[in-house]
């Protein structure tokens, strides 16, 4: 889309004044095309990547890859990673990063498991009937963790990467001490039921994932808070001068991030009724990979929930596809890294290509006397 319009814009640039109006119009048109593309590009690109990955593995090993069990596995494994990735995307939208999300998720899972075990020890029926409340307690634990992150980032003013690096150590450390480094067993039966259930062959976990994604998308795109989060990330100084309450916005963002991580912890338990401090330690980096692949700008301001969902699915497809064609998880690690860097390089090359016309116009414009106006307008 952009290369062809660029070519036209570049071709018409050196033309004499009568065509300049046309040039300007074309430029404006191009930019209008590019601007929404910036946010949606992640989504569009990931649709292509997802289809490509599906096609590739279907071609390589259709019997294993297209088997219902494999597809079910993808749909069951994706939600927990995907929800943490969405939380990461939300925080990245403000220009921050949250390394403590996985630790928060584990913390939430451990809270639920311990509460359940403690109550079940005296009265198993009560524990099961209180299942919903216990799950809520886990999500609240996640929210508190996120709120503490938000406090450190917004009120104390610590750089997000450092604040969450520290809280990651703290939450993880508390979890290790709490569990004594061992794995806890036991979770409300409600969760187990949810983990097993399926609506029309679609696992309920996946439906929860989709609903969460839609809610976050609404939050980001359709609410005042979402708009403020985006503006805060796009240009913090401008946001401050626009009277955006930076502290409150950051606080809410990190709290919501923590809440989503808490929800992910609930999904950990739903999939597998065990909780430990070091579950999913490889997720920390994986989640950043997913968020960036999904079109999230790590410096803030631009992200697409849809893109992140697609990126989650793509990576899951690649992961299970690698298993289907009998490649090891280490080869998957390589693929993950290569995909991440390739996408980043592609992005960088594309963005310099769309920027170049602006740089080349001035020299051609200098020759004509009315160049100043055109420079201002372009």
């Amino acid at each position: 889309m952009t290369p062809t319009t660029d070519k036209r814009a570049r071709a018409s640039a050196p033309n004499p004044p009568p065509l300049r109006n046309l040039n300007d119009q074309l430029g404006r048109f191009t930019r209008r095309l590019v601007r929404p593309g910036g946010a949606q590009r992640g989504a569009g690109r990931m649709v292509a990547a997802l289809l490509l990955a599906m096609a590739l593995f279907t071609f390589l090993n259709p019997r294993v890859f297209l088997s219902p069990i494999n597809l079910q596995n993808i749909a069951v494994a994706a939600p927990e990673i995907g929800i943490i990735a969405i939380a990461m995307m939300l925080v990245m939208l403000t220009g921050g990063i949250d390394l403590s999300l996985v630790a928060i998720a584990n913390f939430s899972a451990i809270t639920i498991s311990t509460l359940h075990t403690a109550i079940a020890a005296t009265n198993p029926d009560l524990a099961n009937s209180l299942g919903f409340l216990i799950v809520l307690a886990g999500i609240v634990a996640g929210m508190l963790g996120g709120a503490f992150n938000g406090f450190l980032v917004s009120v104390v003013g610590i750089t997000p990467i450092l604040a969450t690096l520290a809280t990651m150590q703290i939450y993880n450390g508390i979890a290790i001490v709490w569990t004594g480094g061992s794995t806890l067993y036991g979770a409300p039966t409600v969760l187990g039921a949810i983990g097993q259930a399926a609506l029309a062959n679609v696992p309920v976990l996946f439906i929860i994932f989709v609903i969460t994604a839609i809610l976050v998308a609404v939050l980001v795109n359709r609410t005042a808070l979402g708009r403020m989060i985006q503006l805060e990330g796009a240009n913090p100084v401008a946001a401050r001068y626009s009277a955006i309450p930076t502290r409150a916005v950051l606080m809410k963002t990190y709290t919501v991030g923590g809440m989503l991580a808490g929800l992910a912890g609930v999904l950990f338990l739903a999939r597998n009724p065990t909780a430990s401090a070091d579950y999913g330690s490889s997720y920390v980096l994986l989640v950043i990979v997913i968020a960036v692949l999904g079109g999230t700008n790590p410096t803030g301001g631009f992200a697409s929930v849809f893109g992140v969902v697609l990126a989650t699915l793509t990576l899951q497809v690649v992961s299970s596809g690698f298993t289907a064609i009998r490649l090891s998880s280490y080869e998957y690690a390589i693929a993950q890294g290569v995909i991440l860097i390739a996408v980043m390089i592609l992005d960088s090359v594309m963005s310099t290509r769309t920027r170049r016309p602006h740089k080349t116009i001035p020299p051609t414009g200098v020759a004509t006397p009315t160049s100043d106006t055109s420079l201002i307008r372009t």
Binding site: I97, L99, L152, V156, G157, I158, T159, I161, L162, A163, L165, A166, T167, M168, Q169, I170, N172, G173, I174, I176, V177, G180, G181, S281, L285, I288, V289, V292, P298, T299, S328, Y330, E331, Y332, A333, I334, A335, Q336, G337, V338, L340, I341, M344, I345, S348, V349
Partner: protein, 348 residues
Amino acid sequence: MDLVRKLRGTNNEGVLALVLLGLIVAMSIANPTFFTLNTGFSILRSSIVPVIFALGVLIVVITGGIDVSFAAIAIFAGYSTVTFCLSAGFDPGLPGIFLIAIAVGAALGLINGVVIARFNLPTLIVTLGTQGIFFGAMYTYVGATYYADLPKSMADLATSNLFDITTDIGRAYLHVLVVPVLVLCLAVGWMLKRTMFGRSLYAIGGDIEAARRAGFQVKRTQISVYMLVGALAAIAGVIHIVLSRSANPRDLVGGELDIIAAVILGGAAIFGGRGSVTGTVLGVLLVQVIKNSLLLVGVPSAWLRTAVGVLLVVGVGIQAIAARRDARRMRVIQDLDTEQKTEQEMAS
């Protein structure tokens, strides 16, 4: 006043040293077994690998970047060197082993550097990607076997000690590898303070665009920085294998954030332009002393992560609040003083 400022150091090294000293004194009072040569030597021994890693991280952090792939580079370089020597069945001697590992490490660092400098990408994301690639590549193409027997030169090094002192509570060993670490610290410190290359790192970290306009070769410097980190990581990888007397491909990776935390504790600014070798070494030592003293006080070692995290929050939090107060004070001064005064200052 000047003396206080000098003792405090440009990056609060003095404060850190005071904290470290206070901790050591408190621990010695709480538990007399802490203040012994054994403990001191074992803390030094356990600091060897983290200090080398931290030096590499420090260099990157000063330029305003961050590298999370160094542990993967370290184990890749160290492990593949050992694998090569064992499978080829020859022992190139210590210099040879270090040379091979450093070459491998620098080559991997070159990949990081080229991708980051050429395409101007966020360093955290790139090194996250290369971390996966290096680690995966090691397992897939080099191997995943655990080697309990090292080449002879490495095995010999593992048991050689600088000091071997018999005290009344047992024998205290100071490992010989403390010496190269000390040399590396001095070398990196000298490079940062006294060479054009070192100064250019601070310049790039302070303001990359200003550095470019001042005529620094930003891209070339960035590439060299990541190669240097790769080389340092490779040295640390080999030393780790020597100290643990076995080559385990599962080691090291996963501890990156702990090292970064220690470097930040040592006063390096995550956005670049600040940091010193003294502070970094103190940061690493502080973490190691805490680790050691927790055990002696009887606190489960599980609290270590929490302790480091709290320390990080407190340390960085105080800095952040101080920076904010300074910024506010500066604004007030600017409001009070007329522009004339600033002009006068500029003229003088």
